[in-house]
Subunit: 350 residues, 2 copies
DNA sequence: ATTTAGCACTCTCGGCATGCGAGTGCAAAA
DNA sequence: TTTTGCACTCGCATGCCGAGAGTGCTAAAT
């Protein structure tokens, strides 16, 4: 009886051949034929045998050929298996890690740290690097200041976390005098300085509900403004992208049409942000291969991400975007290390 | 005697044919042959006559053919002549102008105004839009605030122009107490509130030179900090780019290699900024055609720019970047109007 | 039962000739 | 000065051919 479909088992040898095939395909991008594979695998079997096994692998959905009489290349499921169970990572040595972390040392502010991380990812991997802005949950209020602009507009300046300044413009129900504003600020600074921004907001909301008409005019002003000023800091997520142009010279994506769609997605940011949001939930290195991501523009891409932490809070995620045919064994450690180093750098500047 | 090179004169008819040729080339991108041109020009002459004239135009360096037996297309000099003296602009009607300016109405802050302008330019023209950030010369100080961070680091918060907040971190010669900082801020606010930032700086530098040892400790502190805090706001210029992807589907630039170089230049920002800087000097609508710009990456591109003003101060420049073969007669009015509308929008928010 | 060798078959790709269409330039006629 | 006629040049699409690479199947060998 011929080994038709899946009556065969994926034994050691088949997996070894599969792994060799993927590795080979990743380095030179050509579908791999039986002869090449037989030679590469170092197994001392004939191409004919390899052909049999390749037929099995194809039946298992791990490889496919673009057309008759071309070699085979991995399917998405194939990459998945490869990445999950067969990959031998090329860990970075201490030297390389040092070179990476030294890049961060001279940077001052958060923005340039992120920029550096993104650029570095793209430079080392020759792919596109992406770093999502940190969502700091812990923002401790250091000082608040109100300044009247015109009519009912008030400029609010919040100093948080020792060295970060936020400012927003709010509209108030009625115009307040500078004196009133000063007093309101004083009250808030006294009561809440050093407190977490979230809890300040909570306290204010609570106070709003408790005190009704029996509150004096001043207190009303304070509460009204504070409520608006501390409204959740929900500016949309954002990311820093570097080295998109690297993707332009990758043969797999050379279809201008697709490339354009991809670049537009980078510009829109929406889809990419959704994906990064998913990745951040995962609390660990995450790999999206081809269509797995669920976004059509990323059909021919893989995304390798890792969250980065400050303290032990996950605050953001970074990674690289490249063709499905990427050197995972190199890229994964790089993303991993970069996330750790960025986390450390952010931590020390805190 | 045959009309060999430049013994012929560029008469009315020759110019008319040339103009027709350019217009035709701009719409369909194909080299224009004598037959087509004879038909298009509406002149009732035979293709042969047109051929003679085309030979003249070629001798004058206005057109060239990519190879024997292809039609002719404009040279850079040809475009220059066309743009300078032959172009019939397609002015926008009031309706379109309104549609443009209404886009700006709902925007709050400067950043989103610029973003809107850039996006709009790219949407209307189907090219890349670029808007340089305004360099406001007139920054009147409204309020200054110092806040001690750690050791010799001081956070400076400057409120300028009614609603813009700048903050910088400076290092001082010695640690100052909160009280000292407060006093310094008070002094500066009293003396300089409402003054222009430049002149504040000048006054401080002057004071530094005049008063030496006979100044009290307090005054020294004030001067030291102020000098640093008001150091010229020389963050590098920057711009907002939109619709780069439009450039990807333009046949003229379909060379991936060139396109990559161009996109990298967009990322680096350096060359583009230099060019915009030149454009801002020019005080008026400016067109760089192909190699005229002097930047190799822009060899196959044209850039149409116009400065925009607040009050009657030129504060920035905006424009579009596209292939040399662009619809100048449409693009020029669009850039022009957008610059005016953006200026007006910035003005009203001032 | 597995592995190997042999073989016919399929598909891609580069090179090559060919013909067509578009356009030119020149010389002679109008 | 303009037009006509004509020979000539390219670029480009088409079709053909052969080389190369790889497959699947069958039959033989281990």
């Amino acid at each position: 009886m011929p080994r038709t479909t899946k009556d065969s088992v994926l034994n050691e040898r088949a997996l070894h051949l599969f792994k060799t095939l993927v590795e080979r395909y990743i380095v030179d991008g050509q579908p791999v034929g039986s002869r090449t594979l037989a030679r590469d695998a170092g197994l001392d079997v004939s191409p004919a045998t390899v052909r049999h096994i390749m037929a099995d692998l194809e039946a298992w959905g791990l490889i496919r050929s673009p057309h008759t009489s071309a070699g085979r290349m991995p399917t998405v499921q194939g990459y998945r298996l490869f990445v999950d169970t067969l990959l031998t990572l090329q860990e970075l040595n201490a030297n390389e890690v040092n070179r990476i972390s030294s890049e961060f040392d001279c940077k001052q502010d958060v923005a340039s740290l992120l920029q550096t991380a993104s650029t570095m990812l793209s430079n080392i991997t020759h792919l596109a690097g992406v770093v999502m802005l940190p969502r700091t949950e812990q923002k401790s209020l250091r000082r608040v200041e109100f300044m009247r602009l015109s009519g009912d507009q008030v400029l609010v300046i919040l100093v948080v976390n020792d060295n970060e300044v936020q400012n927003r413009i709010i509209r108030t129900a009625r115009p307040y005098s500078p004196a009133e504003l000063q007093e309101a600020a004083n009250y808030l600074n006294q009561s809440f300085s050093g407190k977490d921004l979230q809890s300040v907001r909570a306290a204010i909301v609570k106070e709003m509900q408790e005190v009704h008409a029996d509150v004096n005019r001043m207190m009303q002003a304070v509460i009204e403004m504070a409520e608006k000023a501390f409204a959740a800091d929900d500016r949309p997520h954002d990311y820093v992208l570097a080295g998109q142009t690297n993707l332009m010279e990758i043969a797999d994506l050379s279809d201008l049409e697709k490339l354009k769609k991809l670049f537009e997605a980078f510009g829109q940011k929406r889809d990419i942000l959704h994906l990064l949001d998913q990745a951040i939930q995962a609390r660990g290195l995450q790999i999206f291969i081809g269509e797995e991501s669920g976004y059509e523009v990323l059909d021919e891409c893989s995304v390798v991400t890792s969250p980065y932490t400050v303290g032990d809070q996950v605050v953001g995620v970074l990674g690289v975007i490249g063709p499905t045919r990427m050197a995972y064994e190199r890229v994964i450690p790089i993303v991993d290390v970069t996330a750790k180093v960025l986390g450390a750098a952010l931590n020390s500047r805190h």
